[in-house]
């Protein structure tokens, strides 16, 4: 299942003195099995883009399509179709947890869709498993007794119980500690690789996205200015620097060594890859 945006623009409070254009002329496609990171400065349109993708914000100018089918979020049938495919995880999703027990929180969506008790149960078990929340250990726990990282994974499990094919996450790492984020990231990778769920996450934390998402989209003042593989950032390094984009420590190191005449065959995405590239260069230069 692919999701296409064609020339999308969106204006908040349109027609009032306060109107503010949040997106202008954005085109992109989210394809089967994609793992995309969307980044940009505060107010660049990241969250707005996610909300348009999930059918939450409309009307907009431009076209939104699921495969070949045009989606009009103003029409209930069309919107329902989109909502079955796309799951949206808001910023701080755990603040929207309202059930007492973990099981009921996750079962809320499937129950509302009118599934049988056994189908609901199956979906809850599967969603908990996807988010690394063991059924025996967690299903009867009180939601408020969970740690922040667990609460966030619970909130995401509640969305996975709706079995989306595309999962959109807005700042999924905000407020999580290192271990909490690593645990969540590992589950997202699992969903993507093993279950074929497309992941689109928005973050202002470029370093995290570069290391975890194969594809990076960069927004600036509501415009899409880059859509590229994260494993080829050396090719667009000049562009990033022109934009005044903050480089990660890995990028900065590679750039500084290149200025000293080093050559890098590939673009290292993570601290580990950067270290390996440096070691490799040192070893080769000694031979």
């Amino acid at each position: 299942m692919s999701l296409y945006l064609e020339n999308i623009s969106f204006t908040y409070q349109s027609g009032t003195p306060f109107e503010k254009t949040a997106l202008s002329g954005v085109s992109l496609s989210i394809n089967d099995g994609d793992f995309v990171g969307i980044t940009g400065g505060s107010g660049s349109g990241k969250s707005t883009l996610l909300q348009v993708l999930s059918g939450l914000l409309f009307p907009f100018a431009g076209k939104l399509c699921l495969d070949t089918e045009a989606i009009n979020p103003g029409q209930k049938k069309s919107l329902n179709r989109l909502r079955r495919i796309v799951g949206l995880v808001f910023q701080f999703p755990e603040e929207q947890i309202f059930e007492l027990q973990v099981y009921d929180e996750i079962a809320f969506g499937p129950r509302n869709l009118g599934f049988s008790r056994s189908e609901v149960d199956e979906r809850v078990r599967e969603a908990m498993n996807h988010m690394g929340l063991g059924f025996e250990k967690y299903s009867l726990r009180h939601c408020h007794s969970l740690s922040s990282g667990e609460k966030r994974r619970l909130a995401i499990a509640a969305i996975l119980a709706m079995q989306p094919q595309i999962l959109l996450l807005d700042e999924p790492a905000a407020g999580l500690d290192y271990e909490g984020w690593q645990a969540l990231l590992q589950r997202l990778n699992y969903l993507n690789r093993e279950k074929g769920i497309s992941i689109v996450m928005v973050s202002h934390h470029y370093q995290q996205l570069l290391a975890s998402c194969p594809r990076i989209i960069l927004l600036d003042k509501g415009r899409l200015i880059l859509d590229a593989a994260s494993s080829s950032w050396l090719e667009y390094l000049d562009f990033l620097m022109q934009q005044g984009w903050e480089l990660t420590a890995s990028q900065e190191l590679v750039y500084r060594l290149m200025q000293k005449g080093w050559e890098f065959a590939s673009s290292p995405r993570s601290p580990e890859e950067t270290a390996w590239a440096v070691v490799d260069f040192i070893r080769r230069s000694r031979k």
Partner: protein, 273 residues
Amino acid sequence: MISLRDLTYFYPGEELPALKNISLDIRENEFLVILGRNGSGKSTLARLLNGLLLPSQGKVEVDGWNTADANQLQLIRQKVGLLFSNPENQLISNQVEEDVAFGPENLGLNPAEIRRRVNDSLRLVSMESYKDSAPAFLSGGQKQKIAIAGVMAMKPRYLVLDEALSMIDPRGKREIMESIRSLHKNEGVAVIMITHDLEEAREADRVVVLEEGKVKTISTPEELFPGHASLLALGLAPLEISHIIAEINRQGILLRTDILDMDKLVEEICHFI
């Protein structure tokens, strides 16, 4: 000075304390960073600093006033400004400017002074051009900036930031850190910052690490940050630069491990060629 004496705190109905036997003096003019895993007690500690929560045992004194003394509470809260991570919970007006003015208005300041403080605070967070906007239509990072401006407009003696920069992009974060540093250096405001991001903690005078409600270590960034393995054991993400160094060392090329800045790292690596 904010002085914590044998502070223990239990949330109602909980058997285990969220904080246990904490004794700590936060000096005037200090830049203190508090690190630790989620659930280690950092946010609870922040809420005890201005009497939002009261100690179950022990006491908290702000410039000699006990937070448990209801008569002093309003004065204490003027001195200790507290900011949380989710700005949604902290904005109350439907106009940015009004939101920032809310605190100073409640202090009963005259209109000219309120105006000055609102303008200054919005300038500190680079949000002057949004003064007429509705907070509801701002981005997460912009909302955080407005919340920060609102607290700065109160001119607190102690500024407590509980992951208050978590949603601001790197450039915005650097700008706000500069504003906070200048408040700290030029106006002597003490900064108490809770964060997961060691980048934000680089210039701290002291770093307190909490673990399971207790003070695990008190040190300086220079002492704490290079210890890659010990940081991981405390559940903390090392600086990216330390991560690179640790991995290079693991590959058998032994760089100095106490390096925290890029110039030095480049220099060190070039020794090996």
